[in-house]
Amino acid sequence: MKAAVLRYRVMAYVTGVVLIVLCFVGIPLQVAGYPAVANDVGVLHGILYIIYLVVAWVLARKLRLALKPTVIMLLAGTVPVMTFIVERWVTRRFINPALAAQTQPAQPVRP
């Protein structure tokens, strides 16, 4: 579980950064007449997104997420800045409770 979380986090941040570069550097340059950055970064994001898709899906299945959060997680990789927001949300809402449930406490945390 922890390895899956780490893989997901790494890919969420890498894919997110590349998408931001694509949208806020590549696209303006393309509009200005220099398409090289958008082309290269676009292909890079395409490849990274495939990896993100697989990694995020593996984690979603480990967390036994329902359909809606799973789809939100997968599509986050295509919307600028969204991977960061969704990563925070998934961590708070699903990863932390799942990890807490895994580590068996000796006694209740709260009496």
């Binding site: 495939i50 809606k68 932390n96 709260r110």
Partner: protein, 156 residues
Amino acid sequence: MENAAPATPAEDATPAGTGPAWRFLIQPRWVGWHLLVVVSFWGMLWLGDWQFHRAITGNGLSWAYTFEWPLFAGFAVVFWAKTIKDEFRIKRGLAPGSLAGSPADLDDLPVRVRAVQASTASPEDDEDEELSAYNAYLARLNAEVKHHGRWHGWRN
């Protein structure tokens, strides 16, 4: 509530014998999901075809997307198939994506823990790590008690 749809917790499932297990597939929510998958599958294939036409007319960049879109389309189908398979497993009272009682699956939570978590933990609660840990502990106790009864045939 995100955790509720459409993977209904095992508690809400129709007990065995009151109807065919596949009945959920024709619920409106699931029909909507089937339609969404069909539309996105053909949409992505169409996008792949469009990129292929761009590629053969000289846009070299489009070759990458020519292969990428069908890949995504295939992924959508696999995803859809897995959601259905999981739902069948939940209906049978098994954890989705795992063999029944497989010891290799200790890494994963039992499905009932998740169901209980979904009902006890609201997004605000998760701010408090201590509280969510306690909730998870209660959920696990609850699941263990339920499973215990199940093993002895008291509950199904």
